[in-house]
């Protein structure tokens, strides 16, 4: 009675349609009347992967892993070589 092949195509079509519909989310437009300039911000509310990186204290030495990369004749100058 039903063509099996057609049913498979219909099923696949519905599946693709649902994936497309569910991946697109329309936002209800909510206007902000005045941007707050005094809003306090704390980085502790951020997820781990977006937290600020570690800051060294004033007199803390640079990590020992920071080894001279290119120990060549050119790099043995007193002036640092800086690339912009």
């Amino acid at each position: 009675m039903f063509d099996k092949e057609k049913l498979i195509y219909v099923g696949a079509g519905i599946l693709i349609f649902l994936v497309v519909i569910n991946s697109t989310r329309k936002v209800v437009l909510k206007e902000v009347v005045q941007e707050s300039s005094t809003k306090s911000f704390s980085s502790s509310s951020l997820p781990f992967q977006l937290r600020p990186p570690s800051k060294l204290d004033e007199n803390q030495p640079l990590p020992s892993k920071m080894l001279k990369k290119n120990l060549s004749f050119n790099s043995m100058s007193i002036k640092p070589r800086l690339d912009t």
Binding site: T24, K26, P53, L62, K69, R81, T84
Partner: protein, 260 residues
């Protein structure tokens, strides 16, 4: 007009659909609603009729403010500017090409993580020296970059022997997150990916490959290089810009590593 959009720190693409009755220069900014000096995009488009802004956001805040206005009239609330209608704001999945990035390289993994966190938070971080979790990378966040007491026009530079990156806070506060990321990836490429550490074009393309693969907006990469090159419009920089433009435009068809 300012619209608040909850983004819950997700990676996404925002589609902002705008109508105008005649050609109008429309400004679009997407900023973090909570974190100061944190802009995801700042761009304009001349629109006549219907148009959609696509804003790729590999990082986002808990919620963002989408600011849209006609540059001729300034930012007015809804109903006060009839020259522009914001029809809808839609969230869609972010299109990334992670296969072009060599994440098997632990230095790439570590630096992308470090740079992402730095770029997102730079607007509220004090000056100082910052290190990555694995202590491999160091960024000196300086009020300005100086050489012999003279302020430099560069937003960032890298010590090619030690890999220490210096960043000008003065420049970075005004930059968008994608601008900051494009600059960092360029500096990283000089020392850690380039065959020739001094080759600017090689650093541009190696950095861009990671930037575009992560899903950052194309327009912001153009912008940051264009602004930097405008400060020194040499023949070499013109050639660099042409190569960058060509690389970005053809990125979708690339499928090879530019570095080992």
């Amino acid at each position: 007009m300012i619209f608040n959009v909850p983004t819950r720190f997700e990676e996404l693409t925002l589609l902002v659909k705008v109508y105008t009755h005649k050609p109008e220069k429309i400004r679009l900014k997407v900023v973090d609603a909570n974190q100061p000096n944190t802009t995801f995009t700042d761009r304009y488009k001349t629109i006549d009729g219907e148009s959609i802004f696509f804003v790729r956001m590999p990082v986002s805040g808990n919620d963002v403010n989408v600011i849209v206005y006609n540059e001729a009239n300034g930012n007015l609330p809804v109903g006060q500017d009839n020259s522009i209608i914001v029809d809808s704001i839609t969230k869609e999945p972010l299109d990334k090409k992670l296969d072009v990035i060599d994440f098997a390289n632990p230095q790439v993994r570590s630096f992308v993580n470090f740079a992402t966190r730095f770029c997102y938070n730079a607007g509220s971080m004090p000056s100082g020296t910052y290190v990555s979790d694995d202590k491999q990378f160091v960024i000196k966040f300086l009020p300005i970059i100086e050489d012999g007491g003279v302020e430099q026009t560069t937003p960032a530079r890298i010590d090619i022997d030690y890999g220490i990156i210096e960043v000008s806070k003065k420049f970075f506060l005004d930059y968008t997150i994608p601008n900051r990321m494009a600059i960092f990836l360029h500096e990283f490429s000089h020392v850690y990916l380039n065959d020739n550490v001094d080759d600017e074009v090689e650093a541009d393309l190696n950095g861009l490959l990671i930037y575009l693969g992560l899903g950052y907006p194309r327009i912001e990469a153009f912008e940051v290089f264009a602004v930097t090159f405008m400060d020194s419009p040499t023949e070499q920089n013109k050639t660099r810009f042409d190569k960058i433009k060509n690389f970005i435009e053809n990125f979708e068809s690339y499928n090879t590593f530019m570095y080992e």
